[in-house]
């Protein structure tokens, strides 16, 4: 459990990091919180020959605008729980981050690292897809935007290029009355989810004016339950409507089975968690000013 030999460089700025990436190409890896990468290196599942440490760059700012949230790539998971503005404007961030690992890991792990790592059931990628987000992918001399839905290619695979670095994450939150909820089930507190669901509901009076549902555990990437979302618009979100939407969202998924859970169980969980998340999000939207 010792990593293979590597060179360590500390980047002084985003530009410096991008220059180093350009110089070393596929041999290089960015080191952010190290909570996934270091373990993979010790297991020799990752063997970068150059490690570019971006962990001390000043990229941990959280900005809340109307209808948007921007997280610097190095925002630690813990800040999503503790940031006062987020707690007020978009508590679903903290609610989601609480499911990530344990406090010490949340102190180190970063939003950018989580998205770049792209674990199939990681929470922040789920949030990015739920909130129609995108990332800023910086490379030497340029920045491009990658939509969340296009970013995730498969398990641990993204459309980032080797010379690109995520500098920020952007999330779209509704401008009007809305509520969110994130629910997940894992064997132990802090484990990666067997299945998880995030929901956002916008409402006008009793009526749903917009709905977003993201499912984790259905595919190797977070997926949106678009048909179920569309079916809710214009409805009153009753128990039975929520149950139907949950069933519809889950039925449309292939789901995978492994040693932890069968595909059938995952599908069932997605349905039940969707039902619950929708009801909670709807109620919260109702309570919102």
């Amino acid at each position: 459990m010792k990593p293979s030999a590597f060179k360590y460089v500390r980047a002084g700025s985003v530009e410096h990091a991008c220059a180093l990436l350009a110089e070393h190409g596929e041999d290089a890896r960015l080191l952010a919180g190290g909570q996934s990468l270091v373990a993979m290196m010790n297991l020799r599942l990752a063997r970068p020959s150059v490690l570019i440490d971006i962990g001390r760059l000043a990229l941990a700012d959280i900005a809340i605008g109307t209808g948007s949230v921007r997280l610097g790539a190095l925002t630690r998971h813990r800040m999503l729980i503790e940031h006062l503005g987020l707690r007020r404007m978009a508590p679903v961030f903290g609610e989601t981050a609480r499911y990530i690992a344990h406090p010490t890991i949340r102190n180190h792990g970063t939003a950018g690292g989580s998205v770049a790592h792209a674990d199939p059931t990681a929470e922040i990628p789920g949030l990015l897809v739920l909130l129609d987000g995108h990332v800023d992918a910086a490379s030497q001399g340029s920045v491009r935007q990658i939509q969340g839905r296009e970013l995730f290619r498969g398990a641990f695979s993204t459309s980032l290029k080797p010379q690109e670095m995520i500098s920020a994450l952007h999330f779209r939150i509704p401008a009007g009355r809305w509520g969110g909820n994130f629910l997940e089930l894992a064997e132990r507190v802090g484990d990666f989810a067997l299945a998880a669901v995030g929901a956002v509901v916008e409402r006008d009076g009793e009526q749903v004016t917009g709905a977003r549902i993201v499912l984790l555990g259905a595919e190797s990437v977070p997926v949106r339950a678009s048909a179920a979302e569309a079916s809710l618009v214009g409805e009153r979100l009753t128990e039975s409507v929520a149950a139907q939407a949950g069933a519809a969202a889950a039925a449309a998924q292939r789901c995978y089975g492994d040693v932890r859970a069968s595909a059938g169980y995952r599908r069932h969980l997605l349905s039940e968690l969707t039902r619950r998340a929708l009801l909670t999000a709807y109620a919260r939207a109702g309570a919102a000013a």
Binding site: K2, R188, V259
Partner: protein, 786 residues
């Protein structure tokens, strides 16, 4: 004589803080990996990547090219050295595990080649360049495949794939069956687990400059047994091998074996004349140390209309993996189940067949509880199922079958000393009454609460006859201690045990302090070192306090008698009238007639002219204590309260209560700690831990992301209650308790889940996925108490 309790024990029974903790919690403790020797080489093993294959070739050309200074050894170099762990029971098919695989590999992780370099990083790079060419063989990945007609034999000259198949019987099982009103037959399964101490294994071996003395530092629970085995296998004189277990960061039975790596490191040190260090990593530990459990039990109970069990028939199969482990052998787990299944119940007829099946997986060894967690799972699940089938309250059913009088000799001839089985049931019934009430009226429609319990015995401190009956290399069951009082009246205790969390340094000091009238702080307990301590078989089997502590108590008693004899002469009093307390020898009831223990200690060694005529100088004593022939039986009842979400399968453990009786308690805080630690491991067995192989014998759970250990956020506070029924057959009435905590939880939690869902639970771990399968089988049934 020396077993009597000293007047008014001051420290036995006291809640004193552990003396070993300051160094452990402040990072001052030194483990094998902390030891650095000049000229040391680091070992990395090339391990088999296939579960079953012949070794076609081992190509080291890339190694030599890339790492010219590296050394490499294979099975051809090391030859016939091996782990030979065969009992001579009639059905045993013997086998040898080569130290490095020779023609064939039999599980993923089996050592194939040894690579040495000068640092622990480069050696991993170097070992990766060794190329092993395998010819795959059909894999025996499970019991069914291994036992299928025509399955290839695991070893040459074997017929079939059984290490052992034996039976144990008592009473007239046919008559029991004929008289029974109900025949209740069930199959129960427990999963394969890993042992997972915090510190993995590690070994360093070095010759002294003369080449005469081989010192082996190993993270082991059994230093003397390791010395004996190494001497035998390496053909060295035993007095020229020193085995030292420095600080050992947990063992749980895993480190109660002599492994191929231990022999290999010693052999390499002799061969290369360089100190050799091997530190196991977590992946190696998970795939290639020992595993535990993986049982299938088919039980058949013959029961009267009133619920009295007339007879019990058991068929016990354990998937023990590829080799037999030393010294406990492949028979350990299945043999233990066959021995203990009757448990605390009065059963007049019993028949058990047990077998150990060879498969292409990591060998099964001893892990906290050894067979008993599985035995108790089956026994206590069966009691619940009988209760439900007959419509009797489960506690009442147990009471109807309970042993009433002590001593009691069970159907296999084992004599149980005194226990508190019935009282413990009464107590637990009271303790969980509010939960039983809550379980009857669930507050939310999709939440169900269940209460379950497990009543069991833990045979502890078994003496030599118990091991002789097993006819395995363990052979004996005594323990030893050497106690020496120095001229300043401080004391060293050298125990043959090895302490890796049990608190011996504290509890033995408590026992000795009471004997000698001094303070625990005056006593230094040393252990884990064959150079300083008398022979012993090591720490396992819940024997530490009773036998090792008993030996320290007795050896101190010999010194005590000598101090009193010296004091008696000086004080001109009869020895019986003298007591040792407060660092003084004094005439009872007359505090003016006293002399300091320190003065006596100095006289005995420095001013020996003051000794009574004819008395030898010195204050040193050694004692060996063997256990009672059938051991001493600790009893306990565990109760679990679970909450299950019917719509997700999520299971939460809300409460866990233990009522236990380990006889005389030396230190209540240490007992509670041992119980809680064991319970947590038992909860792991019940809910999470599962070592999974695929059909090709490839391990799938090789790190802690996949092998799920219990962790604090998912655990309730564990409540521990005590009853003290001193054993009439052990020193001070102490009974062992090291393993008990791990024995009951799987059964208690499974019974709680059954109670919540009204569906029987036949298998562990009870994961959300499995709970969901159970929920799908639900039909409304009558709730059955606990």
């Amino acid at each position: 004589m020396t077993d009597r309790t000293p007047h008014q024990p001051r420290f036995v029974g006291a809640r004193i803080l552990r003396l070993e903790d300051p160094r452990l919690v402040s990072g001052q403790a030194r483990h094998v990996d902390d030891l650095v020797l000049p000229g040391m080489l680091h070992l990395r093993l090339v391990r088999s990547q296939l579960a079953h294959a012949t070794l076609a070739s081992i190509d080291v050309s890339a190694l030599h090219a890339g790492f010219p200074d590296a050394l490499v050894f294979t099975g051809q170099d090391i030859g016939a050295l091996g782990i030979r762990a065969n009992s001579d029971l009639p059905s045993v098919q013997p086998c040898v595990q080569p130290i490095l695989a020779r023609e064939r590999v039999r599980f993923v992780g089996e050592p194939v080649a040894a690579v040495l370099t000068t640092d622990s990083y480069s050696v991993e790079d170097a070992a990766e360049t060794v190329f092993v060419d395998y010819d795959a063989l059909p894999v025996l990945a499970d019991i069914e495949t291994a036992l299928a007609p025509g399955a290839p034999a695991m070893f040459e000259n074997w017929r079939g794939n059984l290490f052992i198949e034996q039976s144990r019987t008592g009473g007239d099982i046919a008559a029991a069956r004929a008289r029974a009103r109900h025949v209740i037959r069930r199959t129960y399964r427990n999963q394969r687990q890993a042992g997972v101490p915090m510190e993995c294994r590690g070994v360093i071996a070095a010759l002294d400059p003369t080449g005469r003395i081989l010192t082996v530092w190993s993270s082991t629970q059994i230093p003397h047994l390791m010395r004996t085995y190494l001497a035998q296998e390496l053909n060295w004189q035993e007095n020229r091998i020193h085995v030292i277990a420095p600080e050992v960061g947990g063992g749980f039975g895993v480190k109660g074996h002599v492994f191929a790596e231990d022999v290999l490191v010693a052999w390499l040190a002799i061969r290369t004349r360089r100190p050799i260090k091997w530190i196991e990593d977590r992946r190696e530990h998970l795939i290639a140390s020992i595993h535990a459990r993986e049982h299938v039990h088919v039980l058949e109970a013959y029961v009267t209309a009133e619920g009295k069990i007339l007879g019990l028939k058991a068929d016990i199969t354990v998937d023990v993996g590829a080799y037999s482990v030393w010294p406990f052998t492949a028979a350990s787990d299945p043999g233990m189940v066959a021995k203990v299944l009757p448990g605390p119940y009065d059963i007049a007829a019993y028949e058990a067949t047990y077998r150990a099946v060879a498969t292409n997986k990591c060998p099964i060894g001893t892990y906290r509880g050894v067979g008993r967690p599985a035995a108790v799972f089956s026994q206590e699940r069966l009691m619940n199922e009988i209760a439900i089938e007959l419509g009797i309250d489960p506690i009442t059913l147990r009471e109807r079958n309970l042993i009433g009088q002590f001593p009691y000799t069970n159907i296999l001839g084992y004599t149980y000393d005194k226990g508190s089985y019935a009282e413990s049931l009464v107590k637990i019934r009271e303790l969980v009454a509010p939960d039983v009430e809550r379980a009857r009226k669930p507050e939310k429609p999709h939440i169900r609460i269940g209460v379950g319990l497990a009543l069991f015995l833990e045979q502890t401190a078994h003496g030599t006859p118990d091991f002789v009956r097993r006819r395995s290399p363990i052979e004996t069951g005594y323990e030893s201690a050497k106690v020496e009082m120095h001229p300043d009246a401080t004391v060293s205790v050298d125990s043959g045990l090895q302490c890796h969390g049990q608190g011996h340094e504290t509890t033995f000091a408590q026992l000795v302090a009471d004997q000698l009238g001094i303070l625990p702080a005056d006593i230094l307990v040393r252990h884990g070192n064959t150079v300083t301590s008398p022979y012993s078989v090591g720490t396992w089997g819940s024997r530490g306090i009773t036998l090792g502590g008993g030996a320290a108590h007795r050896a101190a008693g010999i010194i005590r008698d000598k101090l009193i004899a010296i004091a008696a002469q000086h004080l001109q009093a009869r020895p019986e009238t003298i007591e040792l307390a407060d660092r003084q020898a004094r005439v009872k009831g007359d505090p003016t007639r006293a002399i300091g223990v320190e003065t006596l200690a100095r006289w005995a060694q420095r001013n020996v002219e003051n000794l009574p005529p004819g008395m030898e100088p010195g204050l040193i004593a050694i004692s060996f204590v063997d256990g009672p022939p059938d051991g001493s039986y600790t009893n306990a009842v565990h109760a679990a309260v679970v909450e299950i979400d019917l719509s997700t399968g999520q299971i939460k453990l809300k409460r866990f209560v233990v009522v236990e009786d380990c006889g005389t308690i030396v230190n209540p805080m240490i007992v509670d700690g041992q119980v809680r630690g064991g319970v947590v491991q038992g909860i792991g067995s019940a809910l999470w831990e599962h070592f999974v192989y695929d059909k090709d014998g490839q391990p799938l759970t090789t790190n802690f992301a996949d092998y799920l250990l219990p962790s604090a956020p998912g655990l309730p506070d564990i409540e521990v209650h005590h009853i003290q029924t001193p054993s009439p057959v052990t020193p001070l009435g102490m009974k062992g308790l090291g393993e008990g905590g791990a024995i009951g939880p799987a059964a208690a939690i499974a019974n709680a889940v059954e109670n919540a869902l009204g569906v029987p639970v036949q298998e562990t771990p009870i994961t959300p996925s499995r709970v969901w399968e159970l929920i799908k089988k639900r039909k409304p049934i009558a709730a059955g108490g606990v």
